[in-house]
C-alpha cells in the first residue's frame, strides 16, 4: 500500500512537466499546473514515508506484473531509503515553487518547458533510485536522473560556458554509470541475482570484494563529488539555474552518498581498510573542498565547493561507521552513521537555502561575481537575513542544524580514543575537521560580508531589490527547518535510530539517546534563540531611540574612502591564499613594477578547479592528439585497403 502511494507520487512528479508541453509558449498555466502537481505529489509522498510503518529491509518490496528485460522489476523501501526520500520530495516541491518566481515561463519561453519536464523527470527518477530493489531498475532510474540532470544543467545551452560545463558533467556521469554497470554485473555474477540491496553476499573472493568496493566508490563518488572525482561539480552548479543547483547540491549529491551507504555493507561486515579509505577520502574532500571554496570569487562556485566539503564530512562519518562495523563498535556506528545521515539531511536543508538565496542575488543584480556586489543587506533585507542564517548553519554554528550533525561526527571520532583499539589514529581526523570548520567560518564570513555588507561596489548592486514571495517562501521554510532541527535535534533521533538499525539488520545497534543527550543542545539553543528574539525587539526600540546614525564609517583620517576601496573577499583571504598556494594552484598574472615611478600595473588572478584545469583537460587533449595522429590509417587509397585485407588474411592464417 505504502509502496503503491510512493509509486503514484513518483509517477506524478515524473509527469509533472508533461502537461506544460501542451500549452502555448508564453502561457504561465503549464508552469502553475506543473508546480501544483509536483507539490501535491511530494506532500503525499512525504506523508507516505512519515506516517507508515516501513519494513526493516528492502527485500520483498513490491513486484509489479511488468518485468524488465533482465530480472523482475522490484521496488522496496527500508528506513535508510526513507531517510533519503524525504529531502527529495521536499526540495523538488520547494524548488518548483521557487521556479515560479525565478524561471517564469513568460520570461523563458524557449527553455522553460524543457526545464520543468526534466525537473520532474529528475526528481521522480531520484525517488525511483531510492526505491529500486533491482539492479537494472536502479540503473535505469539512475541514468534517467543523470541525463535529465544534464539537460537541466544545460538549460541555457546557448551559452558556451554552459555547454562546456555540461560536457564535463556528461563525461563524469557516464564514467560513473559505466563503473556502476560493471559493479552490478559483478555483483550479479557473484551474488547470483539482481536483487538489491544485499547485506549478506558471502563467499566473495577478496579481490572481487575489493573490486566491487572500488567500483562502487568511484561510481557513486563521482555523483557525490568526492575529490578527485568532483571535477564536474563546481562549474556544473555554477552554470545551472539556481534552483537546479539547489536540486543538484541538495539532493543529487545525496544519491551518491546513498549508493556508498549501500555499497559498503554488501558483504555484511566490511573489511577495515574500507573504513580507512572512506575516512581518508572524506577528510581529503572536506579539506580541499573548503580550501578551494575559500578562494572563489563566483559565489555559486563557492557554494558548490562547500558542497564538496560537506560531502567530505559526511563520508568521513560514514567511514567511521564502517570502521565501527568491522571493529564491532556499535557506538562508532551509531555516531558515525547517525552524524552522516543527519548531516546529509542538514546539507539538503541549508545548501538549497543558500543556492536559492544566490538565485535571489542573481535575480536582483544579474551577476555571480561577489566583488562587484556589496551593500545588499540594506537593499534585499529578507534575502540577507535568510542567507545569514544559512551561512551560520553551514558554518556549523549553534543553535543551528549544521552544528548538531558535526557534533555527532566529532563525538564519534573522539570515541575512537576510548577503546584501546587499533583505530586510535582515526582521532587525528579531529584537528583537521576543526581546521576545516574554521576555514568554513572564514569562507562564509567572506561570502556574507562581501555580498551583503558595506557599500555597493557597482550600480547593479546599488539598485537591487528583494525578490517576490514565490522565491522567498521556500527559503523561509528551509530556514525554519534549519532552526528547528538545530534547536530540537532530539526529535529526529527516532528516525535516525531506525535507519541505523536498518543499515545492517544482522548487526546489533544502540540508540543515539543512549550515547548523547541531545536535549542539552536544545537547552543551550533556547537561550540563544530567546535572546535573539529579544534582541531583535530591543534593537528596533533602540533604533527609534538613542541610537544615532548620522555619519559615515570612521575612515582613520583618510579623507575620501570610496566604495571600491572596501576590503574585497580576495583581500580578506589573501594570507590564507598564500598559505594554501600549493593547494589552490591559481592562475595569476603578478604585478610587475619597474622603475622608480612605475606606470599603472595590473594584477589578475582566478581560481579554476586545479584538477580540471591542470590535469584532466591537458590529459584529454593529449589523448585526442594521439588519436588524431593515428588517422592516417584511413588515407583514402583503395590500394592500401586491399593491402589491409591481404595482410589480415595472412596474419589470421598464421595464428594457431
Amino acid at each position: 500500500m505504502n509502496m503503491l502511494i510512493l509509486m503514484i507520487a513518483a509517477a506524478c512528479i515524473i509527469c509533472s512537466g508533461v502537461p506544460g508541453l501542451f500549452f502555448r509558449r508564453r502561457s504561465a498555466t503549464g508552469q502553475r499546473l506543473a508546480t501544483m502537481i509536483n507539490v501535491a505529489a511530494a506532500a503525499i509522498g512525504m506523508a507516505a514515508v512519515l506516517f507508515h510503518e516501513i519494513p526493516r529491509v528492502v527485500a520483498g518490496g513490491w513486484h509489479p506484473a511488468f518485468s524488465l528485460p533482465v530480472g523482475k522489476l522490484a521496488l522496496g523501501l527500508d528506513d535508510v531509503g526513507a531517510w533519503f526520500l524525504l529531502p527529495i520530495f521536499l526540495i523538488s516541491a520547494l524548488g518548483s515553487i521557487y521556479g515560479l518566481g525565478y524561471w517564469p515561463q513568460r520570461k523563458h519561453p524557449t527553455d522553460g518547458q524543457k526545464l520543468r519536464l526534466c525537473w520532474g523527470l529528475m526528481s521522480g527518477a531520484m525517488v525511483l533510485v531510492v526505491l529500486a530493489a533491482n539492479s537494472v531498475a536502479f540503473l535505469i532510474a539512475w541514468e534517467i536522473m543523470a541525463l535529465s540532470g544534464y539537460f537541466l544543467l544545460t538549460t541555457e545551452d546557448g551559452r558556451p560556458e554552459v555547454r562546456q560545463s555540461g560536457w564535463v558533467y556528461f563525461i563524469a556521469t557516464h564514467l560513473a554509470t559505466l563503473c556502476l554497470i560493471v559493479f552490478f554485473v559483478l555483483l550479479r555474477v557473484y551474488s547470483g541475482s539482481f536483487q538489491l540491496w544485499p547485506t549478506d553476499v558471502t563467499g566473495l573472493p577478496a579481490g572481487i570484494l575489493a573490486a566491487l568496493f572500488i567500483l562502487g566508490l568511484i561510481g557513486f563518488g563521482f555523483k557525490a563529488g568526492l575529490v578527485p572525482l568532483h571535477v564536474w561539480l563546481p562549474d556544473g552548479h555554477a552554470n545551472a539555474p539556481s534552483h537546479v543547483s539547489a536540486l543538484f547540491s541538495g539532493v543529487m549529491l545525496n544519491m551518491g552518498i546513498y549508493g556508498i551507504v549501500r555499497v559498503v555493507v554488501i558483504a555484511g561486515t566490511p573489511p577495515i581498510w574500507w573504513g580507512v579509505v572512506l575516512i581518508s577520502a572524506g577528510v581529503l574532500s572536506a579539506f580541499l573542498g573548503m580550501t578551494w571554496a575559500l578562494a572563489q570569487k563566483d559565489f555559486k562556485r563557492l557554494l558548490a565547493y562547500s558542497s564538496i566539503e560537506n560531502i567530505g564530512i559526511i563520508t568521513a562519518g560514514l567511514g567511521l561507521a564502517v570502521l565501527g562495523l568491522s571493529m564491532k563498535q556499535p557506538i562508532w556506528v551509531a555516531l558515525g552513521l547517525g552524524g552522516a545521515l543527519l548531516h546529509t539531511l542538514n546539507h539538503s536543508l541549508f545548501k538549497p537555502l543558500l543556492f536559492m538565496g544566490a538565485g535571489g542575488i542573481i535575480h536582483g543584480t544579474n551577476t555571480r561575481d561577489m566583488e562587484s556586489l556589496g551593500g545588499l543587506a540594506a537593499r534585499m533585507p529578507a534575502v540577507f537575513r535568510l542567507m545569514l542564517l544559512g551561512s551560520a548553519a553551514i558554518a556549523a554554528l549553534p543553535p543551528l542544524n549544521g552544528f548538531v550533525s558535526e557534533l555527532l561526527i566529532y563525538m564519534g571520532f573522539f570515541h575512537t580514543l576510548q577503546e584501546a583499539t587499533a583505530a586510535r589514529w582515526a582521532a587525528w581526523v579531529i584537528p583537521v575537521l576543526a581546521m576545516v570548520g574554521a576555514v568554513a567560518l572564514m569562507t562564509f564570513v567572506k561570502f556574507t560580508a562581501t555580498c551583503f555588507e558595506g557599500q555597493p561596489r557597482t550600480a547593479a548592486a546599488a539598485d537591487a531589490r528583494d525578490p517576490g514571495a514565490a522565491m522567498l517562501c521556500p527559503m523561509v521554510l528551509l530556514a525554519a527547518a534549519c532552526a528547528l532541527v538545530g534547536a530540537f535535534p532530539a526529535l529526529l533521533t527516532g528516525l535516525l535510530d531506525h535507519a541505523i538499525a536498518a543499515w545492517v539488520p544482522s548487526h546489533r545497534s544502540i540508540p543515539l539517546a543512549g550515547i548523547i543527550n541531545l536535549w542539552w543542545i536544545t537547552a543551550m539553543a533556547l537561550p540563544l534563540l530567546i535572546f535573539a528574539v529579544g534582541m531583535a525587539l530591543w534593537i528596533r526600540r533602540w533604533r527609534r531611540g538613542t541610537c544615532e546614525k548620522s555619519i559615515g564609517t570612521w575612515d582613520c583620517g583618510y579623507a575620501a574612502p570610496g566604495s571600491r576601496m572596501q576590503y574585497t573577499g580576495s583581500s580578506l583571504i589573501q594570507t590564507m591564499a598564500r598559505v594554501f598556494r600549493r593547494i589552490l594552484w591559481r592562475r595569476e598574472q603578478p604585478v610587475e613594477i619597474q622603475g622608480v615611478f612605475p606606470p599603472t600595473a595590473g594584477y589578475a588572478c582566478n581560481t579554476p578547479d586545479p584538477l580540471l584545469d591542470r590535469v584532466a583537460e591537458p590529459f584529454l587533449k593529449r589523448v585526442g592528439q594521439m588519436l588524431e595522429s593515428a588517422r592516417i590509417l584511413q588515407s583514402g587509397a583503395a590500394q592500401l585497403y586491399m593491402l589491409y585485407i591481404l595482410l589480415i588474411v595472412l596474419i589470421l592464417l598464421m595464428i594457431r
Binding site: 584511413q634 586491399m642 591481404l646
Partner: protein, 213 residues
C-alpha cells in the same frame, strides 16, 4: 588428361607473370581474355563424363570471361583513351619477381596443401593460390581503374581454378550464379569507371581519395 590439365595450368601461370610484367593495357586485357578461355576449357577435362551440362558451363565461361568481359573493359579503355599503365606503385620487374616468388612458394607447399591422392595432380591448388596473389598484387600496386578490375578478374579466376577440385560439390545453379555475379559486377564496375572518367577526367584512382579519416 592430367597432362593437358597441367599444361594449361602452367600456361595460366605464365599469363599471370605476363600480366604482372606488361604496362600496355590492351595486352593486359587480352591476356586476361586468353586466361578466361583457357579456364573455360578446364571443367570438361576434369569431369570424367563430358555431358551436355559441363560443356554448356564451359561455353558460358568462355563466352563471358573470354569475350564479353574483355570487350566491356576495352570499351571502358577506349572512352578513357588510356594506352598504358604508368607509374605503378611497384615497378614491373619487382612485381614479376614477387609473383614468381609467390608461385614458387605455392608450388613448394603443394605437397602439404593438396593430399597426394588428389585426382587432379598437384598443380591445381598452387596455381589458384598464385593467381590469387597475382590478383592482389595488381589490385594493390596499380593505380588505373581498369588494371585493378583485371586484378579482380585474375583473383576470381584463381578461385575458379580451385573450384575445379569440387565441381561435383557445387551445384550448377551456384556456378551459374557465380558467373552471372561476376559478369554483372564487371558490368556495373565498367559503368562506374565510365562515370569516373567523366567526373575526374582520368582513370587514376589516386584521385579518388577525398574520403578519408
Amino acid at each position: 588428361m592430367i597432362m593437358i590439365l597441367n599444361a594449361i595450368l602452367v600456361l595460366v601461370i605464365l599469363i599471370n607473370l605476363f600480366a604482372l610484367g606488361t604496362s600496355r593495357m590492351k595486352a593486359l586485357i587480352h591476356a586476361a581474355a586468353l586466361q578466361g578461355v583457357l579456364l573455360g576449357l578446364l571443367p570438361p577435362l576434369v569431369v570424367k563424363d563430358v555431358g551436355t551440362l559441363p560443356l554448356l558451363m564451359a561455353a558460358v565461361t568462355i563466352v563471358l570471361k573470354g569475350i564479353l568481359i574483355p570487350n566491356m573493359l576495352l570499351k571502358a579503355l577506349r572512352d578513357a583513351q588510356v594506352k598504358r599503365e604508368v607509374e605503378p606503385l611497384i615497378g614491373f620487374m619487382p612485381s614479376i619477381l614477387l609473383g614468381a616468388a609467390a608461385t614458387a612458394m605455392a608450388l613448394a607447399l603443394a605437397g602439404q596443401l593438396a593430399p597426394a591422392h588428389s585426382p587432379l595432380g598437384l598443380l591445381v591448388i598452387p596455381t589458384s593460390i598464385s593467381m590469387l596473389f597475382t590478383g592482389f598484387l595488381l589490385l594493390t600496386t596499380r593505380v588505373k581503374a581498369v588494371t585493378q578490375v583485371i586484378g579482380f578478374l585474375l583473383l576470381e579466376n584463381g578461385i575458379f581454378v580451385f573450384g575445379l577440385l569440387l565441381l561435383s560439390a557445387i551445384p550448377y545453379l551456384v556456378e551459374l550464379g557465380v558467373l552471372l555475379d561476376l559478369f554483372v559486377g564487371i558490368f556495373v564496375i565498367s559503368i562506374i569507371i565510365h562515370h569516373i572518367n567523366r567526373a575526374f577526367a582520368s582513370q587514376d584512382t589516386r584521385r579518388l581519395s577525398s574520403l578519408k579519416g
